[in-house]
């Protein structure tokens, strides 16, 4: 349970000449919840998108250094396979509007042309929605459109969609910034439950959320990983003055 799932060694990312992630070295252990925080433009989302190779989809975007998943170089693996292993949930809930709740959950299989039996689909849908703490709320309306749900439910549906592919790691890019406090709370509760089976990396602007949900926190500033430590230590006794200035709101 203590093994490293993701590690970066001297990892750099660029948009053309713009050096946005600088020499990041980090080791993330399995079944941990990691919060990534920092001011806008610090490179935290870019770093997240480098983990599942979404960064390279942007024209002019490049990277250098080593990014490993389970000790294998992510950039030498098949990109599609990487995204099977690494799920991602975005800032705004984005269920497929033309698909039902049921179809949304198994969208990963449908869109990749993976053939599975109806019985297996039923199992995957129920298991994924249960893991995303949504099953009880939607079990009687599985064939309604995903967009019929509330914002918080839609985000949990997106989490169920990510879980359905049985990834090892799930990336969250500001997953609750478009949600109200009650929906935020239900998603945060879900993080604690998902931790038993998955490793979660969550980019968040909400420092209290980072403090509430994560085991470890990484603080990025101007593309550098300034500090990476236990969340409790980070929020009571940060080692770097820049971290202290940021979390206490004294950043200029």
């Amino acid at each position: 349970m203590e093994s490293t799932i993701v590690s970066s060694e001297n990892f750099n990312a660029y948009f053309g000449d713009n050096h946005v992630v600088k020499d990041v070295n980090i080791k993330i252990k399995r079944n941990e919840v990691i919060a990534v925080m920092g001011p806008s433009g610090c490179g935290k989302t870019t770093y997240l998108r480098c983990i599942n190779r979404m960064h390279e989809l942007i024209p002019g975007a490049t990277s250098k250094g080593l990014m490993k998943l389970d000790d294998q170089d992510v950039y030498k693996m098949n990109a599609i396979y990487v995204r099977y292993k690494i799920g991602m949930v975005f800032q705004r809930p984005n269920p497929f509007p033309n698909l039902s709740i049921y179809e949304n959950v198994i969208a990963g299989y449908l869109l990749n042309g993976l053939k599975i039996s109806k019985a297996d689909k039923d199992v995957i849908v129920e298991k994924s929605l249960t893991s995303a703490a949504l099953w009880k709320e939607v079990k009687d309306s599985l064939h309604k459109k995903g967009t019929f749900l509330s914002g918080g439910q839609q985000q949990r549906l997106c989490i169920a969609r990510a879980i359905a592919m049985e990834p090892e790691l799930i990336l969250f890019d500001e997953p609750t910034s478009a949600l109200d406090p009650i929906s935020t709370s239900s998603v945060e509760t879900l993080f604690h439950e998902l931790k038993a089976n998955y490793t979660l990396i969550i980019v968040t602007h909400n420092m209290q959320q980072a403090a509430r949900v994560s085991d470890k926190t990484a603080f990025f500033y101007l593309g550098e990983l300034v500090e990476f430590d236990d969340t409790k230590t980070m929020f009571t006794n940060p080692k770097d003055q820049r971290t202290q200035n940021y979390i206490t709101g004294r950043f200029s």
């Binding site: 420092m207 403090a211 929020f235 009571t236 006794n237 940060p238 971290t243 979390i247 206490t248 709101g249």
Partner: protein
């Protein structure tokens, strides 16, 4: 400055004001004891209510800052320390009013020679000086000065440890002074507590500035660091 910084700055000023009041209470109780001034002693007893009001106000302010600003890091440590310093100062205020009450309750003046032979006056001055220096350490976030308090508390402890002998000698010299001698012994015990409270405050200052915990066994380490 952020609003949280403003709130913390205002709270710090409030604590310093309480500190000055408590220090004044201790000084007035001393003067009342030496001059056997019962009016001054009664003033200390009345002003004890102001110390208590300060304590309640500071507790409430800390609670509000926690609720409204969700402080972290040095701000969080400052507020945790502020709560404990507040309690310690209020207890020192209680000690000052306890000493004043002895003066009010005493039938006769304390004998100057007895105050000298038991080292009570020396102990009193040192206790007040320690309290002043902890305030300076708090205001300036001076952890070197805060650490020096651990060593200086030893002086108060030594006088307190020796008190049964020195007070017994006062009684032996004049058996009719037994009530007065017991008051002196009680005041020495109270002043020893002032030293302990100041030491607790010094530990809180170090915790808030350096995030180091010195209480219990670690405080001894802090003492050794100064030796």
């Amino acid at each position: 400055m952020t609003q949280l910084e403003n709130e913390i700055s205002a709270l710090k000023k409030e604590i310093v004001n309480m500190w000055i009041l408590v220090q004044s209470q201790l000084n007035k109780a001393r003067e009342a004891m030496i001059k056997f001034d019962k009016d001054l002693a009664r003033e200390v007893l009345v002003k004890e209510k102001r110390v208590n009001s300060f304590e309640l106000k500071i507790d409430r302010d800390v609670e509000n800052i926690f609720a409204l600003y969700c402080p972290v890091a040095i701000d969080l440590r400052f507020l945790l320390a502020a709560l404990k310093i507040n309690t310690n100062l209020e207890r020192i205020g209680d000690i000052a009013s306890g000493i004043a009450k002895y003066v009010v309750d005493s039938a006769v003046n304390y004998d100057t020679a007895a105050l000298e032979s038991t080292s009570l006056l020396r102990m009193y001055d040192e206790a007040v000086n320690i309290l002043i220096d902890t305030r300076t350490a708090f205001e300036n976030e001076d952890t070197v000065l805060a650490r020096s308090i651990f060593k200086r508390d030893d002086v108060l402890d030594a006088i307190n440890d020796n008190a049964p002998i020195t007070v017994a000698e006062v009684i032996k010299a004049d058996i009719t002074s037994i009530n007065e001698a017991l008051f002196i012994l009680s005041i020495i015990r109270k002043l020893e507590r002032v030293g302990d409270q100041s030491k607790n405050i010094a530990e809180e200052i170090i915790f808030y500035v350096e995030a180091k915990i010195l209480k219990h066994s670690a405080s001894q380490k802090g003492k050794k660091e100064n030796e």
